[in-house]
Symmetry: C2
Subunit: 392 residues, 2 copies
């Protein structure tokens, strides 16, 4: 007979899921009610307003997709792209590659604009691609690359796209709630995020938002959206205005309770305060990691505070160190993705995980373990640097 | 400022979500750990075994899709069907219609075999369609129609499909855990279900299982699966054998804790005992409802114990009665879907909701409310009939 599963209490400082606020876990366990219950429909309306605040948008179509961030990505592409369309994708990490997969599975043509992993996407390259491909209808890129920790200037990219009559799809999985993001002011037409990063919520849902221009394109498609589950023309019937909601699929009720609670927490803290908290804890972690001799792979100017990618010191075994951190400290940090596997660690400071006690735990644990496996580190100095950074 | 959402404690006797066992809600609130954590990977292996038990299958590819039942349906179609294929769909309710949408969005041809809503799918009609369409590759139908409460003879249908070299896709959203279902013995090639019905779990995941013949077809597709998120060739890398798992998408960790707990509960009760419990509570509810003068729309021979569709008495307002039940009794029952809207009630006795106290509450509340709105009912007699049925 299989027994109940009782997970340990980890400290989650990888690329996500991040530490979940206990208030959110408690909310998730509240009694399940029906997906057409009038009280649930009220909660859905609150959720839309809270998401509009988090995204800084007035977009009416601002909802959580009932599946993880990858499904949010797919929602954007399958609704906005039709077979034969041309989509320009600016890639500077793993997730731009996933965008290409999405575009091609829509039967559309992906024009790839490549930047080095760890760098921002270069608006000049985008402009050249837009000039070379006047047939393009859409530009897609990642705001905050989870595989490297680099951010891209969204407004500059969107301005260029609009000057060439393209709509924009932006991946904000790792940025929402952790770093500045302004959907309306920056001109984002379609955006998707995840709940398990800077919203400190459990994984499984994908907040999305669509501009009026996007909605118009979706409503005027020549062909049906290839996914029935993700077809926003149908989903809007359930998440739309008014008390009358058309059944589409059964909403993930308890996961939505959790997201609602996490957005209430964000509203209470204030978006700008949350961004400032992420920056402050990043500065302290940076001081500690650099004092341990680790170097960041992303230039400071485009570095995300919530995702810290540092190179693994020569001679140090990636899996061994992460294994010790997990087993001895219950501390999870992330390994590298794709070409960076084995070469970098990704240390997340996302949402509820972005706390002083986590930063101190991470620097001291990493220092001790690096020393244990033979690296030449001065943990005492690193801790002093970390603490000093908080005093600045 | 928006406040936390505190839902009421409802009794969920609609078509799902059904009452969630408090043990499952508690499991859902356990600490979140990483989706590549070795302890989580162990839990995933247990989950697969538990699902194999629930489905009565040895299929290696038996996993939960990270999204609701509709996404489970789409997983089956987008993986097994390619553009230009011919799929025979036997429809006897709403969900057969959704299958048609799925097939057509794959660029394939749907041959519809219609049966009256509330009846079982007729194997003779399927046989005629198979003879008329030797080009068909796949047969799809619903085991337990959630829109009506009718069941279909799965084994007879699968035998015919196999005799004509077709694979079978079966919707078991409402049957899994509530009524007899034997994936291997009945010859089902692809099956999807939901967590929010007879598994008494929260909504949001879709258990699926694929036979070796299905897996072979998926691995030998001519074209890529049109959905990246639901592409089983990729999903298998994460849910596959061994300790090494390839990151595909971030799994909905806490929702998986809940499903694991619900499957542990099912294993502890025993599958046959769960089926017997559903049958027993149905018999008592039936006695009470019939004594209230309500009649079932599905013949007893093909009636599901977990979904009781009864006609609304003449002159009684559907929305008014369901509104009073919800507001005064915190009791949710379901209305009709599609052509049955306003004409029937769907009373669920699924999973944890299938209990004697719920049956007694439902008969007594429905009797009182029907009397209140002017119907001629004898609640005392109905209660006596219900209690007598438990004594049989």
């Amino acid at each position: 007979m299989t027994s109940s599963f009782h997970p340990p209490q980890r400290t989650l400082m990888g690329p996500g899921p991040s530490d979940v606020n206990p208030r959110i876990l408690e909310a998730m366990a509240r009694p399940t009610i029906g997906h057409l219950d009038p009280l649930f429909v009220q909660m859905m309306d609150e959720m839309k307003s809270l998401l509009q605040y988090a995204f800084q948008t007035k977009n009416e179509l601002t909802i959580p997709v009932s599946a993880p961030g990858s499904a949010g990505m797919e929602t954007c592409f399958v609704n906005l792209v039709e077979a034969g369309d041309t989509v320009i994708i600016c890639q500077n990490g793993v997730f731009g590659g996933r965008m290409k997969e999405n575009v091609e599975r829509c039967g559309a043509i992906a024009i790839m604009v490549e930047d080095e992993w760890g760098k921002a996407c270069d608006p000049a390259k985008l402009e050249a691609a837009l000039k070379a491909h006047p047939e393009a209808t859409t530009v897609a890129f990642v705001h905050a690359e989870t595989s490297t920790g680099a951010t891209t200037d969204v407004k500059a990219m969107c301005d260029l796209a609009h000057a060439h009559d393209c709509l924009t799809i932006v991946d904000a999985v790792t940025s929402l709630g952790g770093t500045e993001l302004r959907v309306d002011a920056w001109g984002i037409d379609a955006i998707y995020s995840g709940t398990q990063k800077c919203l400190s919520c459990t994984p499984g849902l994908s907040p999305v938002s669509f501009s009026p221009a996007s909605v118009e394109r979706i409503q005027n498609r020549k062909t049906k959206v290839q996914s029935w589950f993700l077809d926003l023309n149908l989903v809007m019937g359930y998440w739309g205005k008014g008390a009358k909601r058309a059944y589409h699929h059964t909403a993930p009720i308890n996961s939505l309770y959790a997201l609602h609670e996490s957005l209430v927490l964000l509203q209470n803290e204030g978006l700008e305060n949350a961004w400032a908290r992420h920056a402050k804890n990043h500065n302290a972690l940076k001081a500690g990691l650099e004092a341990l001799g680790l170097s960041f792979i992303v230039d400071e100017a485009v570095r995300l505070p919530q995702l810290n990618s540092v190179t693994i010191p020569e001679g140090v075994d990636d899996a061994q160190v992460r294994g010790i951190l997990l087993n001895d400290y219950n501390l999870e940090i992330g390994g590298g993705l794709g070409v960076m596997a084995g070469k970098v660690w990704r240390i997340g400071l996302m949402g509820y995980a972005s706390r002083q006690d986590n930063v101190l735990k991470c620097v001291s644990a990493l220092g001790e373990v690096l020393g244990r496996v033979g690296a030449n580190v001065d943990t005492k100095k690193a801790m002093a640097a970390t603490i000093a950074a908080y005093g600045e």
